[in-house]
Symmetry: C2
Subunit: 213 residues, 2 copies
């Protein structure tokens, strides 16, 4: 766990800046790796540089995954999250925007690295981003309450074209610990996938709370 | 589209070998980027090497995503697929094994880059891999038939621990163009997510068929 105990808000911002720039470079490399048509010699030369960079970065690294940390200002960060993590090259990353306490959306652009059917988003990746957004809406504003996905269903109206896309989600109802959320994913031609989820609010045990600085 | 028209089976195998080694190096770099704790100087030095490698690879690259190609032996490859693509650094990659014409599984190990809740797989990523496996089982053996996900539902029994995991899927029934498939994801403690999907068999239009070498 990155330890923010001795950090200020400014320290955390600088750390994020340092690693975010690196992560953005790796996102570019991922796209180039996928689309390149260079020959053996150039591949070997690029691979040697990549391996050298990996060795440098591994010279001092944490043993485990990044988890969730509480920042000095009382917020939480999930820098390694596969959907939203600014330090995770696999994450586009998604930047969720709240429209109200029960409603949120994100706009993103997903390219060649997110392909399933030719020219289109992998249906499972659509499920990933919608699961994330619906869960985010369900858990908004609670630090000491964890929200777990109970069930989630997706209806695919048509394939989603790679490129710009937008997702929206909204809490529809609650019943005890259950939170009912719906949402959709849309490309430039309109809605392509709809989602319905039931999330469960769980009181976190103190030992499961993120480290507080 | 990578053009296999002039290729032999051996050519395709060599191409795959060339780019697979590069992609595996990038997968290592992704993990190192996520977990590194090195300071500004080392980050800057590693970033310069990564950017240099990206520029080399981009010196000759395809304009679009990789799509699906037919190989000289009549098989299909989806080298860029976000779940299974051997050329996609985002893909673990999953290697689906057929147990029978209606049943398949994969074993994989998902680490820090696939995190949602601390130490656990992102629930949406579980949905991604199950959607892929169920769809794969539904479409097994058909080149001129595309299978689209109609609806798919997931039930989360508990969080899936990062590390070794296994998924299984099986066709339960068919009704006209509908194919009913169930499956699950399990970590070392047992089943953590179950899935039920309805897939639709679509006759592909000739212009939508992958390029045939």
């Amino acid at each position: 766990m990155w330890d923010f105990a001795e950090s200020t808000v400014e320290d955390v911002a600088l750390l994020r800046q340092r690693y975010e720039a690196l992560t953005d470079s790796v996102r570019q490399l991922i796209d180039a790796t996928l689309r390149t048509e260079v020959g053996d010699d150039v591949v070997a030369s690029a691979k040697a540089e990549i391996d050298a960079a990996t060795a440098k970065l591994r010279s001092h690294q944490r043993a485990d995954s990044l988890g969730i940390s509480v920042t000095p200002d009382g917020g939480t960060v999930a820098w390694g999250n596969v959907a939203i993590g600014p330090r995770n090259p696999l994450a586009p990353p998604l930047e969720v925007v709240h429209d109200s306490p029960i409603r949120a959306h994100f706009d993103t652009r997903l390219g060649a690295a997110y392909e399933g059917p030719p020219g289109h988003l992998h249906g499972g990746y659509g499920a990933l981003v919608l699961d994330h957004l619906l869960g985010h809406v369900a858990s908004y504003g609670s630090v000491d309450t964890a929200v777990a996905t109970g069930t989630i269903s997706f209806r695919y109206l048509r394939p989603t074209r790679l490129g710009p896309m937008r997702a929206e989600a909204e809490i529809q109802d609650t019943d005890g610990r259950k939170i009912f959320v719906t949402g959709h994913l849309a490309d430039e031609e309109g809605v392509s996938v709809t989602a319905e989820g039931v999330f469960i609010a769980l009181k976190r045990a103190p030992e499961d709370l993120p480290e507080r600085a």
